[in-house]
Symmetry: C2
Subunit: 342 residues, 2 copies
């Protein structure tokens, strides 16, 4: 039987020092190039490291440095393909800078969010990027901030660095597009989480309608979605309305997919029978058919900026002023929207 047994080989900086016949301080200097070391000693030390395949203990390092050189990303869920996409962009930056990336999935449970943030502090995580958080307890956040950098995406938290995309304006744009096509009965499908981004985009929806003097029909707006198959179930409901909308805008593309399924199942055709629009610009959505009219938010850029900013703050903890960055969106008109049937 194959035996994967183990002898815990733990060579330390001390062993290297002994082998290279120098002090541990010198080894440390070689390791970190933190002070000049003569060419010959350096060579000896390097050789010892190589021979003993020494790997420095980051735990000990972090202990004295008071930081673990790692970033946490706290997300409500991961099934929505928006998250993998932004994770990818964040991971790229962390790995470039020698930070590791920890993932925390909260299901947007505020208790869990708080618990995780404290856990991050325990682990001396250097900084946390939180997205779509539901925490509103400013005092708590302030306490956390005393111990760790935080940056929030898609939710404007008091005194916390903030990155978002122009959800209100972007949504207004696409709704105006629908209106310009002749739609007056426009549905709005929200999302399972009650996040500020949702409220924000909903405002854009109302802006557009109001701007054109179209009364807001609350029956057309569905905010809190079911846990399973969000989008699918909601779209179904909208389709069952006596005076059903001729167009539906979906808060995000994950929801739009569900709507697509529901509409096809009902035997209706997009866009002839009903127009669909959405918000996100996910790579994967480009495979949808008919292609989806959507508001593209620069997801990768958002992740990249967020991560770069938090790393900058970590490396240079004296930047004390809250930063806010709102990135522009871009409407892309594709096949899923057209004028309503007369």
């Amino acid at each position: 039987m194959p035996d994967k047994s183990v002898k815990l080989n733990n060579v330390t900086i001390k062993d290297i020092a002994t082998k290279a016949n120098v002090s541990v301080s010198t080894v440390s200097r070689v390791l970190n190039s933190s002070a000049p070391v003569s060419r010959s000693t350096r060579k000896r030390v390097m050789a010892a490291i190589e021979q003993m395949s020494f790997i420095p203990n980051e735990l000990a390092r972090g202990l004295v440095k008071r930081s673990s050189k790692s970033i946490a990303f706290m997300i409500p869920e991961i099934q929505n393909p928006f998250y993998p996409e932004i994770i990818e962009s964040i991971e790229k930056v962390t790995s470039e800078h020698g930070f590791s990336l920890s993932l925390y999935i909260t299901n947007q449970d505020p208790e869990k969010e708080k618990y995780y943030l404290e856990e991050m502090i325990a682990r001396r995580i250097s900084g946390a990027i939180i997205i779509c958080t539901s925490i509103t307890d400013d005092k708590f956040i302030k306490k956390i901030q005393e111990r760790m950098e935080i940056l929030s995406i898609h939710a404007d938290v008091h005194n916390v660095d903030y990155i978002d995309t122009a959800g209100r304006e972007g949504t207004k744009d696409v709704i105006e597009h629908l209106i310009s096509l002749g739609h007056r009965k426009i549905g709005f499908i929200g999302y399972r989480f009650n996040i500020t981004a949702l409220q924000n985009r909903l405002l854009g929806y109302k802006d557009a309608l109001t701007g054109y003097g179209i009364p807001i029909n609350e029956d057309y707006i569905i905010e809190g979605l079911a846990l399973e198959n969000p989008g699918y179930n909601t779209a179904k409901k909208l389709l069952e309305l006596k005076d059903r909308p001729t167009a539906i805008h979906c808060f995000n593309e994950y929801v739009a997919w569900g709507a697509y399924a529901a509409i096809k199942e009902a035997g209706l055709t997009i866009p002839q029978d009903i127009s669909i629009s959405s918000f996100d610009g996910l790579g994967i959505t480009e495979l949808l058919s008919p292609s989806l009219t959507t508001v593209i938010q620069p997801i990768a850029t958002m992740g990249k900026l967020a991560c770069e900013l938090i790393i900058k703050n970590i490396l240079n903890r004296n930047i004390n002023i809250k930063q806010s960055i709102i990135l522009p969106t871009r409407l892309v008109i594709r096949e899923s929207t057209c004028s309503p049937k007369i």
Copy 2:
């Protein structure tokens, strides 16, 4: 201007000891319930902890415990929705057991894979789950194994715990289904990464054809896919063949989506003009239309088992025998397959 300035408040076990008028050892005992402490002292200590909002330093803890109580998950990519799905199941288990989860994305670059594994050791990660690895260097793996638990998914690495699903059998099943419908010209679309799982499922494809005496047409098999839009581009190529297949099996569902797009773009209908089948059973795929005939592999179970097994091994490092678990798959016939036109 809002000022988020900081005074690094770092209360330690020592401060608690002073405040509660006990020794640090006693505080530690309270913290870990590692030894009996009298009711009254415990109370005083707890009060001090509460009052000073003390959070123990996991770095220091990990240093003496020689482990950071964290699991790493190393994946080649994250765009394929298979990964979020398995991440979710793993995160559930890690968080239940008080482990944190670190994510490493390798793009299946063997150098990066090695680099990351060493980084994990530096960080005293307790265990690494690796999936679809391309590392074949047994010596290297053995060295890693001396320092950290490893478990491999979808790739059988020498002497490393191994979890997989029955890709060969599952693929054979679905190909036989296509054959039974009357298909003889069956394409196979692979994936962008050259992983053992791919070779494995390809064997199942060949098993089925051979079993029915159908000659294997190499033109119908495409293994190495382009980086962008895998599936889409490949399906296009297959459609352009003079004698094009009447059915296409896709290695995974991410690829199948691309194939759907290509086929619709070519003005063909699924399944009347061409049947499509795949492998995965992703939740998100249920939204595809027409619904996809697929081989369901128990992704969440796989992640859960993997994580539970590695945690068991971490907690109990004397299990020295390689474990292999192969989970069964299940064919689900839906709308995307039918008999070929005569």
